[in-house]
């Protein structure tokens, strides 16, 4: 499979408001396979939107190159690139009807009138907006506006589809619905897509590959499963899902397993790549911990808070000097524990994971 | 679309930048009032078929413009304004000589020795007084230069700046030639106390007096008549007993003007009986002996005139004005 998009060592430095330069993107290299959906995920300010805009052409890289296929487009003006963008605020033309919004790109490409008509109408059907052609954007709901934006972007048959946090203006339920539709559409049309978001649920649901970014750099790139189960840094582990982090030191490596000592005991973890003496965080996901009768299980603990969320319950359990987060599907053993209740905790050693620890003193 | 608009704009701009070509058009600066200019110029156009495009400026302004435009003159003729301004113009090199073919003699002091300017009317300096003011204040109209300094007229006099008005400069030059330079400036310093404010144009003081804004104006007799009493204002005219100055109105051809032949035609016309008769409407005294004089207009023999050397006045203009500005502080 060829690469639809390739980024080589992209750097972008801005003149900051305070006066000094701000490095928004600091050496990002990435390869996006044809037909896949890659998500750039990270907190605000991590540079993900800047990367997207450099691909679209709205920002020029300070250093580095952008390729689409084999073609170097780093300095190509945005209107000459074969990328289509769906904006966070949709960017619909308020003075044009839906039909004209969607057909705009075709008119620019001088597609003949009748053909525009056919293609626009069928695209509106495709996104579920049949019959709205004559309305103005201001007359549509948020979800509908989003779909117009999508239709407008798709109709020009771009090589790469770019999404800039398109769902952030929708309410929770709609978000879930629309993102599923986007994914369905993308897979059906097999169109290479790059998606920017700070919402990990979105990233997990939509992506073939997730690229986690932090302070202008890529922390880790991989499939949703890799990112979740085998994060390579604390930041990634923290950002996706929730985790309990227990400070520890590597004592030995044997049989492909790393022996780690923490305050609450020693464990042999399947994560490789460490040497004896390395400082590490032991990662234990909340859903990997099970509840047992007090006195049973590996550790003894006491419940400090219980948060009921309908389908699941979150317990904060004090174990020694630590507080661990435990997620339990409700109802399931230990139904309805309350604050102060003693409880035992169990987990499988195979569900443990290690990430490097850099103490900041 | 943006580009073609820009192009269109530039084409329009360039097209209008080109000077008018062809046709018989004479470009002129006139120092006469707009209203007066419109008495004569249309008649010239009618008589000769030559169209005139003219701008009205005060005499000082005409001189300034001609100097500024010396490298690229915009007009061919300078019409009106006292002769000493035309003398200054000759010195500044912005005019060229032309001797019109006349079947009568123009007096020696009514034209430049080398014919760089030609005189076409005569006018004397007088005082215009608002009769209602005189009645209220219980004073007679001033009859001498010394009279003007009387306390009764304090703050009631109006005259133009000598550096923007030919009229006012003529007054200054007259005083200088009459009393001697230092005494003249001493006199004006005293007079300054009585002056309410200075105007830009030479004849505006007359209207000010007519309106009653001031009690007395110092201006040319023809302006006093046309803008004062003839218009309906309560104005009475008097002359200084010590003697008064006068002006010869001049016309000059502008050096480098595009239409010298048309300009010459205008000069000829301005001295013709027909044209000089038109000046009756403004109470100006024609120089052509065959022309008629308006009733009520003041003739040279009716007023005491000093021996006014217009050429000298022209030569001294720059220097006297500089001194005036620094001594009077205006």
């Amino acid at each position: 499979m060829s690469n639809a998009v390739r980024l080589e060592n992209l750097r972008k430095v801005f003149q900051g408001r305070g006066g000094g330069p701000v490095t928004a993107v600091d050496g990002v290299s990435l390869e996006v396979k044809d037909g896949s959906l890659v998500t750039l995920l990270g907190p605000s300010g991590c540079g993900k939107t800047t990367v997207l805009r450099m691909i679209a052409g709205f920002e020029t890289p300070t250093e580095g190159e952008v390729f689409i296929g084999e073609e170097r487009i780093t300095t190509l003006p945005p209107n000459k690139r074969r990328t289509s963008m769906v904006f966070q605020s949709y960017g619909l033309f308020p003075h044009m009807a839906v039909f004209d919004n969607v057909g705009y790109g075709l008119r620019i490409r001088k597609v003949p009138g009748p053909e525009i008509r056919t293609r626009v109408l069928s695209m509106l059907e495709l996104v579920g907006l049949a019959g709205t052609g004559a309305r103005l954007p201001s007359q549509l709901s948020g979800g509908q506006q989003q779909r117009v934006a999508l239709a407008r972007a798709l109709i020009t048959e771009p090589r790469v589809l770019l999404f800039d946090e398109p769902l952030s203006n929708l309410d929770a339920k709609l978000r879930v619905q629309v993102r599923q539709e986007i994914r369905r559409l993308q897979q059906r049309l097999k169109i290479t897509s790059i998606y920017v978001t700070h919402d990990q649920d979105e990233a997990m649901t939509l992506s073939d590959q997730i690229v986690v970014m932090h302070q202008g750099r890529i922390e880790q790139a991989g499939s949703p499963e890799e990112i979740y189960a085998r994060p390579r840094t604390r930041f990634v582990a923290d950002f996706i899902g929730q985790g309990n982090f227990l400070a520890g030191t590597v004592r030995g490596v044997e049989d492909g397993r790393t022996e780690v000592e923490i305050a609450e005991g020693r464990f042999r973890v399947a994560t490789g790549g460490f040497r004896p003496g390395d400082r590490v965080w032991l990662l234990l996901r909340p859903e990997a911990i099970g509840l047992a009768a007090p006195g049973a299980g590996r550790w003894k603990g006491q419940v400090s808070t219980a948060t009921y969320l309908g389908g699941e319950v979150f317990y904060e359990v004090a174990v020694g000097r630590q507080t661990l987060l435990v997620k339990v599907g409700h109802p399931k053993g230990g139904a309805g524990l309350g604050a102060g209740d003693p409880v035992g905790l169990t987990f499988d050693e195979n569900s443990l994971h290690l990430v490097p620890r850099e103490d900041k003193g | 679309m943006k580009r073609s608009l820009g192009l269109l704009a530039m084409v329009v701009a360039v097209a209008w930048a080109m000077p008018a070509q062809g046709g018989q058009v004479l470009h002129m600066y006139t120092a006469l009032d707009t209203a007066e200019s419109q008495l004569y110029i249309p008649e010239f156009e009618k008589d000769t078929g030559i169209k005139v495009e003219w701008v009205r400026l005060s005499s000082g302004e005409v001189l300034a413009r001609l100097r500024a435009e010396a490298k690229n003159p915009q007009v061919s003729i300078w019409y009106g304004g006292p002769s000493q301004d035309h003398v200054t113009g000759k010195k500044a090199g912005v005019t060229v000589p032309y001797k019109p073919p006349l079947d009568w003699t123009l007096p020696a002091n009514a034209h430049d020795s080398e014919w760089c300017w030609v005189g076409y009317y005569f006018g004397a300096i007088g005082f215009a007084s608002n009769t209602e003011f005189l009645k209220r204040a219980g004073v007679p109209a001033p009859s001498s230069w010394q009279d003007l300094l009387k306390p009764a007229y304090k703050g009631q006099i109006s005259i133009a700046f000598p550096y923007t008005s030919g009229t006012s400069y003529t007054v200054l030059a007259t005083l200088v030639q009459m009393m001697g330079e230092d005494k003249a400036f001493e006199y004006w310093r005293k007079l300054n106390q009585s002056i309410h404010h200075y105007d830009k144009s030479g004849s505006a003081p007359v209207t000010q007096a007519g309106l009653g804004e001031v009690g007395i104006a110092v201006s040319f007799s023809h302006d006093i008549l046309t803008k004062g009493s003839d218009k309906g204002y309560p104005i009475t005219m008097t002359f200084p007993s010590e003697g008064t100055g006068y002006e010869i109105g001049g016309i000059s051809l502008v050096k480098g003007g595009q239409e010298p032949d048309l300009a010459k035609k205008f000069v000829d016309w301005a001295l013709s009986v027909r044209s000089q008769n038109l000046m009756k409407q403004w109470f100006r005294i024609p120089l052509n002996p065959k022309a008629e004089v308006a009733k009520g207009a003041v003739r040279a023999d009716q007023v005491k005139l000093i021996n006014f050397d217009a050429v000298k006045a022209g030569d001294e203009r720059d220097r006297l004005i500089k001194r005036w500005r620094s001594e009077i502080g205006q």
Partner: protein, 553 residues
């Protein structure tokens, strides 16, 4: 650099930037440089002799003090009156708000010297009020500082009004409400919340009105009497004494405080704004007790009364045969307007008609470049294009006759020089309107168009321009008004072929043909109102809130 390469790949953009840069250099920077050059070069050498000469003479120095004093007084008075109206409308909820708004913005469209004319008619020595009310015993001495303060305050307070109104409307209501909630009485709310938040607006207003007063030419040339001011003196040096270097030096001296004030306002005061631009002004709120409301309403009525009196006098005066002597009513002056003045009117309308659309479009293009595009020298282009607003007309006028008197740019005496003067004097109006409008458009809309394949030109024409149309047309309207009422710069460049009606009116006032001048002035105002009305009909609402921040002749 990558940025430069990107621009060069977009030929329309690159060409536009180049053309505008060249035009700005030729028609803004170059004339100003010529003025400066004229004042410091003597016989081919640099010399400060002219300045030493001027500043050494007390009578040449006095206009400097005079101008500054006048400017300061008018700034304070104008800001006070402007704040009165703004506060009355935005916070005191006075009745007849629409009426007061019209009163507060009307002086903008009248030619500058109409007020001076009115002042003479009413308060001159033989003025109507002087004779009837004061019985001729007290001379108000209207020629000079007093008259100018009165007239300029009325002429320029609309600017202050619009600035202050904008500020007051944009202050978050929650701030004042929470102050009340915490126990402050209304006077305390005003003193501790409203007033401090208005301070940037007050500072802006003081600076802007100060600049307008310094640059004012039309009023002082009629009303200054013995109180000489810089703008008129510079003019008289050049036209009366052919003293170009002296006139240029005075122009440079005039320029300094105006530039300082302008830069202060643009780079310091406007950055200290405490309000966010939300785009929708909040409605008038009632935050005063009824007594205050009545008091403010009364004060506004007094000011409105004065304005009506002044303009009404001009109307009345235009029907008088001979003001001061013969008060029979007549229409002869109006007949005269069309007989004699027909040519002037036609010239002025043609020139304004050509300049205005060009100004509007150029303003929008520059606004678009400045707000949306990045390129080398952008900040400079922004500053220079606003410069002709800061620079007094007198200075610009002198610059134009010095700069365009020789080949290859031989423009003196042509229509082109007048049109160019109009364009570059008024383009800041269009730019400001465009910038304000553009800042309110979601950037994503234009990026979407680009993303879909539209080049810069196409995006501008199909997307940006339609969305900023209201601002565009208000910029057009205001440019047209300024063209029709211009005097201070254009008085230097009129010629035999092209004459402006404002210059003709000035000549009439100088000649004390007051009734005639009044008739001409009213016809001019009528034409301006007609044009504005047509524009409003044709294109919907003209945003008056954007007009008037740049008043002046």
């Amino acid at each position: 650099m990558a940025e430069l390469r990107k621009i060069l790949r977009d030929p329309v953009l690159a060409a536009t930037i180049a053309v505008i840069a060249v035009s700005l250099f030729l028609f803004v920077v170059h004339p100003l440089y010529k003025v400066f050059q004229m004042s410091v070069v003597e016989d081919g050498r640099l010399s400060l002799h002219v300045y030493r000469d001027l500043l050494g003479k007390p009578f040449e120095r006095r206009p400097i003090y005079n101008s500054l004093i006048l400017g300061a007084l008018v700034a304070v008075a104008g800001t006070a009156v402007g704040y009165l109206f703004a506060f009355a409308i935005a916070r005191a909820d006075v009745p007849w708000k629409g009426f007061f708004r019209i009163v507060a913005t009307f002086p903008i469209i009248s030619p500058p010297f109409v007020l001076s004319l009115a002042a003479i008619l009413l308060l001159g020595r033989r003025g109507f009020i002087t004779r009837t009310v004061f019985q001729g015993w007290w001379d108000p001495h209207i020629y000079g500082l007093r008259g100018l303060v009165l007239v300029e305050t009325i002429a320029f307070f609309p600017t202050a009004f619009l600035i202050m109104l904008g500020i007051l409307q944009a202050v978050d209501p929650a701030l004042e409400e929470s102050s009340l909630n915490l126990g402050a009485n209304r006077w305390q709310v005003f003193r501790t919340v409203t007033l401090p938040l208005s301070v940037p607006g007050l500072a802006s207003s003081l600076l802007v009105v100060f600049v307008e007063s310094l640059a004012d030419f039309g009023n002082p040339i009629i009303l200054s009497g013995n109180f000489h001011v810089l703008s008129v003196q510079a003019y008289l040096h050049i036209t009366g004494m052919a003293d170009f270097s002296g006139g240029a030096a005075l122009a440079v001296i005039l320029l300094l405080p105006t530039l300082v004030a302008f830069l202060l306002q643009k780079y310091w005061v406007s950055r200290k704004s405490y309000v966010t631009v939300t785009g929708k002004p909040s409605p008038a709120r009632l935050s005063v007790v009824p007594f205050t409301r009545r008091l403010l309403c009364g004060l506004c009525l007094v000011v409105a009364g004065v304005i009506f009196l002044l303009y009404g006098t001009v109307v009345f005066g235009s029907f008088i045969t001979l003001w001061g002597a013969n008060y029979t009513l007549t229409l002869k002056h109006y007949v005269s307007v069309f007989q004699i003045g027909g040519g002037y009117l036609r010239d002025t309308l043609i020139l304004a008609g050509v300049a205005t659309p060009i100004t509007g479009i150029l303003g929008m293009i520059i606004a678009f470049l400045v707000v949306r595009k990045e390129f080398v020298g952008k900040g400079l282009m922004d500053l220079i294009s606003m410069l002709t607003f800061a620079v007094p007309g007198t200075v610009v006028g002198i610059g134009y006759i010095l700069a365009f008197n020789e080949r290859p740019l031989l423009l003196t005496g042509t229509a082109a020089i007048i049109v160019l003067l109009f364009i570059f004097r008024n383009v800041p109006v269009g730019i400001r309107a465009g910038v304000a409008a553009l800042q309110q458009i979601d950037k994503a809309i234009e990026e979407a168009a680009t993303n879909l394949g539209a080049g810069t030109g196409r995006t501008f024409v199909t997307i940006t321009l339609p969305l900023i149309t209201p601002a565009f047309f208000s910029g057009l309207a205001y440019s047209f008004v300024r063209c029709m009422t211009a005097i201070s710069a254009v008085i230097f460049v009129v010629s035999g072929k092209w004459n402006l009606i404002t210059v003709a009116i000035l000549g009439l006032v100088e000649n004390a043909d007051l009734s005639q001048a009044a008739a001409f002035s009213l016809v001019l105002v009528a034409f301006v109102l007609l044009a504005l009305g047509l524009m409003q009909l044709g294109v919907g609402r003209v945003a008056t809130s954007q007009m008037g921040v740049e008043a002046g002749g």
